[in-house]
């Protein structure tokens, strides 16, 4: 009989019967093994552990230890893991128990978010009689949940006007790592908010708030517990400054820059006194005090994003200066300055990084810098500009940068500095800058270049101001331009909310004379509440309540 591949089968019925009986007997004798403590499954003291960190900059949470017990048949105990939550899982054996140490990933490695992990502990046994091969016994699994909270880094502007609703920019990390369901200023909810795609910035609008300090909270639907935050918004009452004049520091012949410390009600003027001084005028008790000053060849200064410091520049160095005391820190030299070039102007974005422009004594292009305060590094920004002059929007989100020199025979591009990525990009507008610095409103919807040309945020020309404008500032909401007009001898107000199709804007009302002649080289500052104009030049500083037009 052929059954299989043509091969012959031999019948041996008697022998087969005997063999079958023997085999049955043998197999029947095999019983009795198995079970008992020898094959006890792997068991762990807990099947779930959690870790939490207050943010990506927080310390790595302490490792947690789980005890595993296993049967006598286990030859090898394998501990493997998966998931971003876990950096390592190691075991230390002691008889038939093992201490499994689970170390979470460093928060800085994983960033903010909710992370999962799993640790599997498998006891391997010998799979054959000579133990030349392993087979898995039981496995115990530990689930790991790890929450690294998002971080709020700053709010800009960090100080707001009481009774006024406005939009602030919150910087942070991992703002998209959790479902953000709300923003609160103290206990007051933001009326709206948006988060950028990278989860690094939020734009939040607060309602009108009374003066005070407001911790900023983020609400989340899937973050366990409160999202930690140490960022506070300061809200201050505006001051109704009376019209007056302030004297410059002795020996001043030129004003270099002017800024206002809204939190401390102090005016900061950089002049050529003693080769370059910072004069600080503190308003207290209804009067302006005698200015304090510090000299170090300063050319410009800008308040840091948190208001604690002035980043002051001289020809070659940036010097951090205490914004309240004017105590100078250690200067940082700008590297690789081009021959015959020097630092010219500085502005600070909401990320507290500073854009520094450079200049030559003649017309020519030189590269600017970015200053990064945390690292203390000043680095070249890769863009060469011609004696560029920046003006930062009050939100700190960006700056308009004009350049050029009247001696040039053709116009040069106007640039826009974006704080979000610290980049300079050319706009669609070209001109040769004059002595009037650019002006931009808080939300970057109105821009005035060369004191005469009014643009919208996309650099579409809307209208013009008189050629006699020596300095100009724009109201926070972009509805008004306040110009110091040399021909009119005072402040003229323009409604620049409308597009006049490149026609001249008519002045609203009569000219508002100043309390004193500011002189030449005029710079203007408008307080954040839009209530006061500071107009300064070579002769003095004029304090002027904003015309109610």
């Amino acid at each position: 009989m052929r059954l299989f591949l043509g091969e012959k089968v031999h019948y041996l019925p008697g022998a087969r019967r005997v063999a079958g009986l023997l085999l049955c007997g043998l197999l029947a004798g095999c019983g009795g093994g198995g079970g008992g403590d020898d094959t006890a499954p792997v068991q762990v003291s807990t099947n779930a552990i959690t870790f939490g960190a207050d943010g990506p900059g927080a310390q790595t949470p302490a490792a947690q230890t789980v005890t595993a017990t296993f049967g006598k048949d286990v030859v090898q105990l394998a501990v493997v893991h998966s998931g971003d939550a876990i950096a390592s899982a190691t075991s230390v054996l002691n008889g038939r128990t093992a201490q499994i140490t689970v170390v979470p990933s460093a928060p800085s490695n994983v960033g903010p978010g909710a992370f999962l992990g799993a640790v599997a502990i498998t006891g391997y046994t010998c799979a054959d009689t000579t133990c030349s091969r392993m087979a898995a016994g039981s496995t115990a699994t530990i689930s790991v949940n790890y929450q690294v909270s998002p971080t709020l880094l700053s709010v800009a502007p960090y100080v707001e006007t009481s009774g006024m609703s406005d939009t602030v920019i919150l910087r942070g990390l991992g703002l998209r790592a959790f479902n953000i369901s709300g923003v609160r200023f103290g206990d007051t909810a933001a009326t709206s908010y948006t988060v950028n795609d990278a989860g690094t910035e939020m734009s939040a609008t607060h309602p009108a708030l009374p003066a005070g300090s407001y911790p900023i909270h983020l609400d989340s639907t899937n973050h366990i517990g409160e999202i930690p935050s140490t960022v506070e918004l300061q809200v201050v009452d505006p001051v109704a400054f009376a019209a007056t004049t302030l004297d410059h520091l002795p020996s001043t012949t030129a004003l270099r820059s002017l800024s206002y410390d809204f939190e401390r009600q102090a005016l900061i003027a950089v002049t050529d006194a003693e080769g370059g001084s910072i004069g600080r005028y503190q308003y207290a008790g209804g009067a302006w005090g005698t200015p304090s000053s510090v000299a170090n060849g300063y050319l410009d200064a800008a308040l840091s994003a948190d208001g604690t410091q002035l980043f002051a520049i001289n020809q070659t160095h940036l010097v951090p200066v205490n914004a309240a005391t004017l105590e100078q820190g250690t200067g940082i030299e700008a590297p690789s300055l081009a021959t015959n070039s020097f630092l010219k102007n500085i502005v600070v974005g909401y990320d507290n990084r500073a854009l520094i422009t450079t200049s030559l004594t003649t017309s020519g292009t030189t590269q600017g810098y970015i200053y990064d305060p945390p690292s203390g590094i000043i680095g070249l920004n890769g863009v060469v500009l011609n004696n560029a002059t920046p003006t930062m929007a009050a939100s700190g989100a960006g700056a308009v940068v004009t350049q050029g020199d009247p001696s040039l025979t053709s116009d040069v591009l106007v640039y826009v500095y974006a704080t979000s990525n610290n980049s300079l990009n050319s706009s669609a507008v070209s001109l040769r800058q004059n002595s009037v610095p650019p002006a931009v409103n808080r939300s970057f919807t109105r821009i005035v270049l060369n004191g005469t040309k009014v643009y919208d945020g996309s650099f579409n020309l809307l209208g013009t101001l008189p050629d006699t404008t020596a300095a100009v500032v724009i109201k926070s909401d972009g509805s008004r331009a306040y110009a110091f007009d040399t021909a009119a001898g005072g402040i003229l107000v323009y409604d620049i909310s409308a597009d006049l199709d490149e026609a001249a804007y008519p002045a609203l009302g009569p000219v508002t004379p100043l309390a004193g002649d500011p002189g030449t080289g005029v710079r203007m500052v408008l307080t954040p509440d839009s209530g006061t104009l500071f107009v300064a030049g070579s002769l003095r500083i004029a304090v002027q309540p904003t015309p109610a037009l």
Binding site: F4, L5, G6, E7, K8, V9, H10, A15, R16, A19, L22, L23, L26, L27, G29, C30, G32, G33, G34, G35, D38, T39, K72, D73, V75, Q76, L77, A78, V79, V80, H81, S82, G83, D84, I86, S88, A89, T90, S91, L93, R96, V110, L116, A120, Y124, C126, A127, D128, T129, T130, C131, S132, R133, M134, A135, A136, G137, S138, T139, T141
Partner: protein, 270 residues
């Protein structure tokens, strides 16, 4: 009592002599190993543990068999294989930014020497000594329980006997395994094989593997069209415990030089 034993012994010897004589009458005189022969093959297995990981093993194995006189023979065998555990069975997969799911691998090597006595018409008794080494590569740090290291040396001793009865072979093997620094592991496996045709063997086995019941079935075949040089086997075995382990074995073995039928190979060449 003593005389009873003597009677039984005499009867057994007489029976063995009788069957031996019968075999001799039917076939030419045979040695324990007819001639030196060599086999080399690929081995693969897949093991699945209930509610735990499964793993796959792939490797090489070889053996050399040689006669020592007419009654005795020796066998030298060795193998290397690698076992990969499928940790995906117990670890979820993640779209990870900084890590990946860890794996678990074992490298297994083994060598043994066996000496045996055989009468091809009766059966075989053997004794073996072998050494093995297993190393693991699992996760960040995983070790063998007895050594605290990621390697484990193994010594083992084996005695076995098998009897040939027509188209059946009955066997019993006792193995004593000594893992490095570990407790001695004892196992006893009994088997019964049936040759329905000369090139096909079906084996049932059962026993006590380190105090755990184990049983299995294996089919081995030497396709005639391959010139009786290639053997293929497929088997399934179970270790019966709380977390039952089922293993499928597969091997392909090439026999150099000796082109004989499977039954003859089993009883006269290896």
């Amino acid at each position: 009592m003593k005389s009873q034993k003597l009677y039984i012994s005499a009867a057994v010897l007489a029976a063995l002599q009788l069957s031996s004589n019968l075999a001799v009458a039917a076939e030419p005189a045979q040695r324990a190993v007819q001639s030196t022969n060599l086999s080399l093959g690929l081995i693969a297995s897949d093991s699945d543990t209930k509610d735990s990981t499964s793993n796959g093993t792939f490797g090489l194995g070889g053996s050399a068999n040689m006669p020592i006189g007419d009654w005795f023979g020796a066998s030298l065998a060795g193998s290397y294989s690698r076992t990969t555990a499928r940790t995906s069975d117990v670890l979820f997969d993640v779209a990870s930014r900084t890590s990946s799911r860890q794996t678990c691998r074992f490298h297994n090597s083994d060598a043994s020497l066996s000496l045996f006595a055989r009468r091809p018409t009766l059966g075989r008794v053997s004794a073996s000594y072998g050494k093995g080494k297993v190393s693991s590569d699992c996760g960040d740090e995983s070790v063998f329980v007895s050594t605290g290291e990621d390697t484990l040396d193994i010594d083992y001793y084996r005695v076995g006997a098998e009897g040939y009865l027509g188209n059946f072979t009955f066997g019993a093997v006792h193995t004593s395994t000594e893992p490095e620094n570990g407790e001695k592991l004892e196992s006893d496996i009994f088997s019964a094989s049936w040759y329905p045709i000369e090139n096909l063997k079906v084996t049932l086995s059962g026993g006590d593997l380190y105090d755990q019941d184990t049983y299995g079935i294996e089919i081995e075949h030497q396709p005639e069209f391959m010139g009786n040089s290639l053997g293929v086997s497929l088997g399934y075995s179970v270790i019966d415990r709380d977390q039952q382990i089922g293993t499928i074995n597969f091997s392909v073995v090439f026999h150099f030089g000796t082109k004989v039928e499977l039954k003859t190979r089993d009883r006269a060449y290896r």
